[in-house]
């Protein structure tokens, strides 16, 4: 029998595809369903955030950081404000730091919940998505009450935060935390042990420690491969050194390990919020100078500030030349760095695994393209 003539097919996955979570495109060369080559194409959401920063006053750039990783806007707010505070050498009031930590951790849980829901949607389970969004909704309600917005909070300010917490907000957060403990545990029961889910995720998309280090991956992806790196612990910023929490790590480096890390991280975030709610002092929420937004004029110099966002390590490199507008803002966006491994992870996998692997990287396109 003569050999069958076969050829590879070029498949453009995206920019309009249900599983690319935004406008991301993958040029795939597939042989049947096996991927021979994968070329990520990005930039459909590019808005030139870094260049825009040079045209605005320091305080005017904060809303733009909301739109990087729109699922985790609080940390983006924070890292930018903290970088500028470093330039100014300002002290931030105690209460403001606590409010920052509570909002950041609430937002981290919300972000992980969105990941959890959409990831299972990618895998093909429809219900978890709605369960996750039920709980995310309560978190967004809390954040809405304090900041006035549901996703693009624009809450942190250089030198503090914009609003003090409304009456009874701290108690409400404590109640939410109790609810979340139960509900996230319920997610664990419903999904983590599911036979089909485990078959889909265990051993898929393995990343070795060396790969993680060489590609500069961070966040749950690095921790899923056994690297206990978390800026909150390794280089404590804000007031994270006051709280008792752990960095969950898994050794396997596969998709399931990343899943377990994220679930465990939600519980750790809840622990931090609990402690912060008990310790929070009364007092100012912003420094006197911080209220005069037009007058923020850091002395010439440069600074790099990093923080642990839900996707990984986010960094801001700011250069000031002594004027009231930044000379240069460079953003280290964790999603952008994390997605760079994708083309190497995908070769030899099937299209179904592609969805599972791409989803496990937890990429937000607003952050990839900036």
């Amino acid at each position: 029998m003569s050999e069958l003539k076969t050829e590879t097919m070029t498949l453009n996955m995206g920019p309009q595809h249900p599983s690319t979570h935004g406008v991301f495109r993958l040029q795939l060369k597939v042989d049947g369903e096996t991927i021979k080559e994968a070329i990520p194409v990005m930039g459909y959401l590019h808005r030139g955030s870094e260049k825009l920063a040079e045209r605005f006053l320091y305080s005017q750039f904060i809303p733009y950081t909301d739109r990087l990783d729109y699922l985790n806007a609080m940390t983006n707010n924070y890292v930018y404000c903290a970088a500028i505070e470093d330039l100014l050498e300002w002290e931030v009031p105690e209460r403001a730091e606590y409010l920052r930590v509570i909002t950041m951790e609430l937002n981290r849980i919300a972000s992980h919940l969105v990941w959890w829901g959409t990831y299972l949607l990618d895998i093909g389970a429809m219900s978890p998505f709605l369960y996750a969004f039920r709980d995310r909704e309560t978190i967004l309600d809390r954040l809405n009450e304090i900041s006035g917005a549901r996703m693009t909070f624009n809450y942190h300010r250089i030198g503090g935060v914009k609003w003090d917490s409304p009456d009874g907000w701290i108690e409400k957060v404590q109640e939410t935390v109790k609810e979340l403990y139960e509900n996230i545990q319920e997610f664990n029961v419903l999904v983590t042990g599911n036979e089909v889910f485990r078959a889909r995720t265990i051993g898929v998309g393995r990343l070795s420690k060396e790969q993680v280090i060489n590609w500069g991956l961070s966040g749950p992806i690095a921790r899923g491969s056994g690297i206990a790196i978390d800026v909150r612990k390794t280089e404590p910023y804000s007031i994270y050194d006051r709280f008792d929490f752990e960095i969950p790590t898994e050794q396997e480096g596969d998709v399931f390990a990343r899943y377990k890390v994220r679930i465990a991280e939600m519980f750790q975030s809840l622990r931090i919020i609990e402690q912060a709610c008990e310790q929070i002092p009364e007092g100012d929420i912003i420094t006197k100078k911080g209220k005069r937004l037009m007058m923020i004029k850091p002395p010439a110099g440069e600074v790099y500030r990093r923080a642990e966002a839900s996707k990984g390590e986010i960094g801001v490199y700011a250069i000031s030349n002594g004027k009231n507008k930044p000379y240069r803002i460079k953003l280290r966006r964790p999603s952008f760095v994390n997605v760079s491994i994708l083309q190497h992870l995908l070769v030899g996998e099937s299209i179904q695994n592609l969805v599972a692997i791409f989803g496990s990287l937890d990429v937000v396109l607003g952050e990839v393209d900036a």
């Binding site: 097919m9 093909g124 889909r200 099937s350 299209i351 179904q352 969805v355």
Partner: protein, 319 residues
């Protein structure tokens, strides 16, 4: 006169079936909605009863789009070929001791033989659309349906050995004489039948041919308007047919306590079988192609064969 009765019967079955499909879709959405903490459709009519009717109206009024590069005759034929066999199998089903279609002595064989033509519709639809996702979807679909047809058929053979007839009425009567439904002595076969029927129907967790997170909509990506409606109709008609066969073979057909007429028992059992599918749809993630194939060939078929051997030995031993 005979022909007239035949036509009336066919039209009635068709009408009942269309109504059944309409409300099966609504029921699926309601059941899944309840599991997912949301109300499901509730805008059209009381309890959302007219939702599917509104959907069908919308689909019928849509523009009929045929992609420019599609293979037109095959593209047009595919939904019909998917629906026709799914409806034709209804001809041999017996709904109660007095209501039923053709009482032919190879009813089960006819059912299985005709229903496997559905696969052609899937293949033709995917192939002719000239769309890569549709092609991948139809490749998956055909591979899956061929692989799972075997355990489906093998799981029924145990019953045929016990009854010694392929006639559907005989099978139900045998269950009445035996005093129990085949789900008890043939439980293994029932499990195999249920699992492979899910794959045969492309339902979750084996909904690979139309996996929306991977292949957009699978083999009917390019279909819209009433052709899409036809595919949906075929899918649900086939689901009802398979559920009806399960009812007949394993759940005693129209048998049941006498306070309700036989046909009501029959329909209730069909609903119960379909509820299990809806439940699974809302619960499970999707399996992977290789896992699906492994499961079909390495687990289900050996189990079905084991069931046949055990049944045959018992039949001979009991005389």
């Amino acid at each position: 006169m005979d022909y007239l009765i035949m036509v009336i019967y066919a039209v009635t079955v068709m009408g009942v079936l269309l109504g059944g499909v309409t409300f099966a879709i609504l029921a699926e959405r309601k059941v899944i909605g309840a599991i997912q903490l949301r109300p499901g459709p509730n805008r059209h009519g009381p309890w959302g009863l007219f939702q599917t009717i509104a959907d069908v109206m919308k689909l019928l009024m849509k523009e009929d789009v045929i992609p420019a590069k599609a293979d037109k005759p095959i593209f047009v034929l595919a939904p019909v070929l998917a629906f026709a066999p799914a409806f034709s199998v209804m001809a041999v089903l017996v709904y109660s001791s007095s209501i039923g279609g053709a009482d032919i002595n190879i009813g089960v064989i006819y059912f299985l033989g005709v229903s496997s033509i559905t696969m052609l519709g899937v293949l033709m639809g995917g192939w002719s659309s000239n769309n890569k996702y549709a092609l991948l979807g139809s490749i998956r679909g055909v591979a899956q349906m061929v692989s799972y047809e075997l355990p489906l058929i093998l799981s029924i053979i145990g019953i045929i050995i016990l009854v010694g007839s392929l006639n559907i009425t005989d099978i139900v009567n045998y269950q009445a004489e035996m005093g129990m439904w085949f789900i008890v002595p043939q439980f293994l076969a029932f499990v195999v039948y249920m699992i492979s029927s899910i794959a045969e129907l492309n339902r979750s967790p084996f909904d690979l041919p139309e996996a929306e997170s991977e292949l957009v909509a699978g083999f009917f990506t390019e279909y819209s308007g009433f052709r899409f409606a036809f595919f949906m109709l075929a899918e649900y008609t086939y689901a009802i047919a398979i559920a009806a066969l399960a009812t007949t073979l394993f759940l005693g057909g129209w048998l049941g306590p006498a306070f309700l007429p036989g046909i009501v028992w029959f329909l209730l059992k069909v609903c119960a079988v379909m509820f299990i599918w809806f439940w699974l749809t809302a619960t499970l993630p999707r399996a992977r192609v290789d896992q699906l194939m492994n499961f079909g060939w390495k687990v289900l078929i050996p189990l079905a064969l084991l069931n046949i051997v055990v049944t045959a030995v018992i039949k001979v031993w009991m005389g």
